[in-house]
Amino acid sequence: MISLVIDIVLLLFLVVMAFAILRMHHLLAVAMLFGLYSLLVAGVFTVLDAPDVAFTEAAVGTGISTVLMLATLAATRSTHERRRKGVAWMPLCICIATGALLIYGIHNMPNLGDPTAPQHTEVAKRFIESGQAETGVPNLVTAVLASYRGFDTLGEVTVVFTAGIGVMLLLVRREKPRIRGEQHDAK
């Protein structure tokens, strides 16, 4: 009962937050509200009993991407152009069509917790039964991530690492190169 109330309130907050972000024009405020938004999403994940996803969402969404957005704003000044009034019909139509397609796609998904769903009948059984013996990792999710899907995780880590290096190269403030007037004068 109380779980349902918490669910509904969190989802309500999400909707309110999304509309507030849409209407907001101050970029720094938008960045802060995005942080709040992903904190809420992480809360929803927690309530949905997915602590690992909630961990990731909280670390990446609330922590790193908020800080990155703020750092970008601090590096670029938060000036913004006032957009023209009126509705951009084309993007609106594309968004509504994509959303309708996604909602249509939900119909084919199995119900939450359905024991006959494909993800419970195919490989999960093997992971649960012999995962610990094969990998020696006590946590099943960690075993799947680090051992069974090791190459995938390695690729993800490579991508994230490369992106981090790129962002650091872009954002780190370098000293301006000094003009060597004396040397030119000497020559």
């Binding site: 109330v5 024009h25 904190l39």
Partner: protein, 95 residues
């Protein structure tokens, strides 16, 4: 006991709603930062209460992580506001 935790959760959610209102309406950037910080704290409390309501104690770890992230995020935001000139005095002109 569950009733007590539930009442606490509802009270925390009311406080969260107030913080959201301040984050959306807040005229200056410091109002928003403070509201986001308070919202994060209340989220930690709500998750802890939820852990006791549902009996899943591993959720408490997530609450710990949230409080860490909240702290780091607010410190980072304040430092960047200090560094980026023009953030602080810029009042939002709402349409």
């Amino acid at each position: 006991m569950i009733t007590l935790f539930s009442a606490g959760a509802i009270a925390v959610m009311v406080t969260m709603a107030l913080a959201v209102a301040r984050a959306i309406a807040g005229p200056t950037i410091f109002d928003r930062i403070l509201a986001v910080n308070m919202f994060g704290t209340k989220a930690v409390l709500l998750i802890a209460l939820f852990a006791f309501i549902s009996g899943r104690m591993d959720v408490l770890d997530i609450a710990l992580l949230y409080s860490l992230l909240n702290f780091v995020g607010v410190i980072a935001a304040l430092r960047l506001v200090q560094r980026g000139k023009g953030f602080a005095d810029e009042h939002e002109d709402r349409a």
